[in-house]
Symmetry: C2
DNA sequence: TTTAATTATATCGCTTACGATATAATTTCT
DNA sequence: AGAAATTATATCGTAAGCGATATAATTAAA
């Protein structure tokens, strides 16, 4: 059954690379005391502080049952605060704490460090950039 | 900080697409009573039955602490059997059961069904095939 | 041939990830 | 206004995924 060979699947490389990337980030994030999904939440909030749970979930394409406990752990780490919106009490506003804001400075170099490491393995920035655009296009189509 | 925008990350689209693919497979696999990682294990065993835990882990780029409980659950589902190798008692041989073998027939159409669905969203097989090759190349480089 | 190192797998603890379901606040409908 | 529907978030249960560590079998070294 040729169509069932692992080698012929498009799904597997995405699954594998996703995990390999998380592994590659891990040592860099460990020194900050955060995980990869927590880093993604920070990326969203650094770009625009003060977003609702749903806004963050939408951007990361995650469900609230994933993001709620994640945000609670980040609250424990004192990276974010969560409080009900005054206008609409169903909404929970998530804000960066001072600590969460400051972490941006330390994190700023991480993406570049990883790109440099990949360049050493003959994976160039232009290739990654092209790939990124292609993938973002597909995500928009299938989301 | 331009380099920290979610939009500019290459890591995020991989993370997102990987989960979107798992979600896309889910309804197809649900009727078989298996999960996406379990499906990947079956792909590996359908290709070559009777492999050790490590051989399967290597092919899926997973650690034994992920694959061992996964295989145990598949044993519960009576999809595979696990028994110590006679030559080397440290090794555990994983074999498909009759049920695990038979499932290949029902699963054979799934990849094609998903490709057809993607074609409807303007994602063509040639593009995916090219992407697959590119990604497999990268995996080999960074693994 | 004991001892030490290596190999193969498993266990533990914690963090995602998500389907199903619950709860409370807000809107919409009648 | 009061009931019904919708929206926003949370809770529960289960399955990954992985670092750290443990255990047993095999191999290498002294």
């Amino acid at each position: 059954m040729e169509q069932l060979k692992l080698e012929n699947q498009i799904c597997f490389p995405f699954y594998a690379i996703s995990r390999l990337i998380t592994r590659a980030y891990q040592p860099h994030l460990e020194s900050l005391g955060i995980t990869y999904p927590q880093f993604l939440v920070l990326l969203v909030l650094w770009e625009k502080d003060g977003q609702t749970v749903n806004q963050i979930a939408d951007k990361l394409i995650l469900n609230t049952n994933t993001i709620t406990p994640l945000l609670k752990r980040m609250e424990q780490l004192e990276l974010v605060s969560r409080e009900k919106s005054k206008e609409d009490e169903r909404k929970v506003m998530v804000n960066l704490t001072r600590k969460g804001q400051k972490m941006q400075v330390e994190a700023a170099c991480i993406p570049d460090e990883l790109l440099t490491k990949l360049a050493g393995k003959d994976i160039q920035r232009e290739d990654l950039s092209e790939m990124k655009n292609q993938l973002n296009h597909w995500i928009a189509l299938i989301k």
